[in-house]
């Protein structure tokens, strides 16, 4: 079964993101910080990782960079979901290899569509 990782330090945000994906036949795993996210990525090798940028431990951008730098993990589709919405923030996400950049507050349907497209690409 497809596995999707959600990393965000806000529990309610993780709940909302997880609920937005209820139409997908997938396992959702959750991380409350960047270091836990990295550990879960190594352990579960998810098909998609939805990462906040500002988290305790590694930032979402650092996790993205580490994913894309590792040939064994580079296929993981990374969706950045953050409140950092300036063009320079989006450029920074693109620079580290994020596949999709979404901003909070998010449109659930937009996130669902992004995940479905990401899964088609895996």
């Amino acid at each position: 079964m497809t596995t999707i990782l959600i990393a965000d330090d806000e529990a309610n945000l993780r709940l909302l993101v997880s609920a937005s994906l209820a139409a997908e036949d997938c396992d959702v795993i959750e991380a409350a910080d960047g270091d836990q996210a990295w550990d879960l990525i190594l352990q579960h090798r998810p098909e998609v990782a939805i990462l906040d940028v500002q988290m305790p431990g590694r930032t979402g951008l650092e996790v993205t960079q580490a994913i894309k730098a590792d040939p064994a993990l580079a296929h993981i589709q990374v969706i950045i979901l953050t409140s950092k919405a300036r063009p320079s923030d989006i450029d920074a996400g693109t620079a580290v290899g994020a596949d999709v950049y979404l901003t909070k507050p998010f449109l659930p349907v937009e996130l669902l569509t992004a995940v479905e497209r990401a899964l088609e690409g895996t």
Binding site: N12, L13, L15, L16, S18, A19, S20, L21, A22, A23, E24, D25, K104, P105, F106, L107, P108, V109, L112, T113
Partner: protein, 271 residues
């Protein structure tokens, strides 16, 4: 010794004057034990049935009758779109209609429960759930919104698995509002149930009637608490039937457009 009415005592006692166990006494004891086990299973079965009939969380350790309790909570209604048309379609096979409906309800109940909601009742083809009505829940708005998302998504999962075999889709809408409610026993000594009453319940019921397929309509009382996380479209102030004040309503489209059934009927706004 405690016995279940109608069940003979298990062991010979001085009071019942029976002899010490021999072979026939052992047989009698075995029969009594078997009868006791049967009674116990019947009681357990009754208990399970009783638990299913009560809103989850009320069955263990709750005082009876429960004292009325007032809390701020979020009320959430779900409703299937175009259900009357479905009922007409299955007019000669109502058992099939029940089967479809229950498959939908299994998904919806699981989605709501996972978000911490309590299923208060089934209302025809819909569900009334509350978040924070039975115990304090500071994040009741977030949880109700998550339940709305999960309800639509879980129903979509049912459609993806079953709509081809069924030859139809089930389309669901959601309405939610927050405010003070009272939970208490409603009815008479003869017949009563635990009910939830309040303005928020009425508003949520009116909103779900207007929600289209794959949509959640949120009163501002809910949306203002979740606006930092999720973006919704402001529909404006809407009159609520039977209520003098208008309610600011936000719309969340939860499925990509085109997913909903073309046969789904969008109810006209109440007058």
């Amino acid at each position: 010794m405690t016995t279940i009415p109608g069940t003979p005592p298990l062991l010979p006692t001085a009071k019942n004057g029976r002899a010490a166990p021999g072979k026939s006494a052992n047989d009698t004891m075995s029969r009594q034990l078997a009868a006791y086990a049967q009674e116990l299973e019947a009681l357990r079965s009754l208990h399970r049935s009783y638990e299913r009939l009560l809103p989850h969380g009320l069955s263990e350790g709750a005082a009876w009758p429960p004292a009325p309790a007032t809390r701020v909570c979020t009320a959430l209604f779900t409703d299937l779109r175009g259900f009357s048309g479905l009922a007409e379609r299955f007019a000669d096979e109502p058992a099939r209609l029940l089967e479809l409906l229950n498959e939908h309800f299994v998904a919806v109940v699981r989605a709501i429960s996972r978000c911490g909601g309590i299923i208060e009742k089934f209302v025809g083809d819909g569900v009334l759930a509350t978040f924070g009505a039975h115990a304090d829940m500071p994040d009741h708005c977030d949880r109700a919104l998550a339940a709305a998302l999960a309800t639509v998504g879980a129903n979509e999962m049912v459609n993806r698995r079953r709509s081809e075999a069924w030859g139809l889709r089930l389309d669901v809408g959601v309405g939610a509002a927050a405010g003070k409610v009272v939970v208490g026993l409603i009815g008479s000594d003869h017949r009563s149930e635990i009910g939830v009453l309040g303005d928020a319940v009425n508003i949520a019921a009116r909103l779900v009637a207007r929600a289209g397929a794959g949509e959640a309509l949120l009163a501002a009382s809910v949306y203002e608490h979740v606006a930092g996380s999720v973006r919704a479209e402001l529909l404006g102030l809407a009159p609520i039937r039977g209520r003098s004040g208008e309610v600011e309503v936000y719309r969340l489209q939860l499925l990509p457009t085109g997913t909903e059934s073309s046969a789904a009927v969008r109810p006209s706004p109440p007058g």
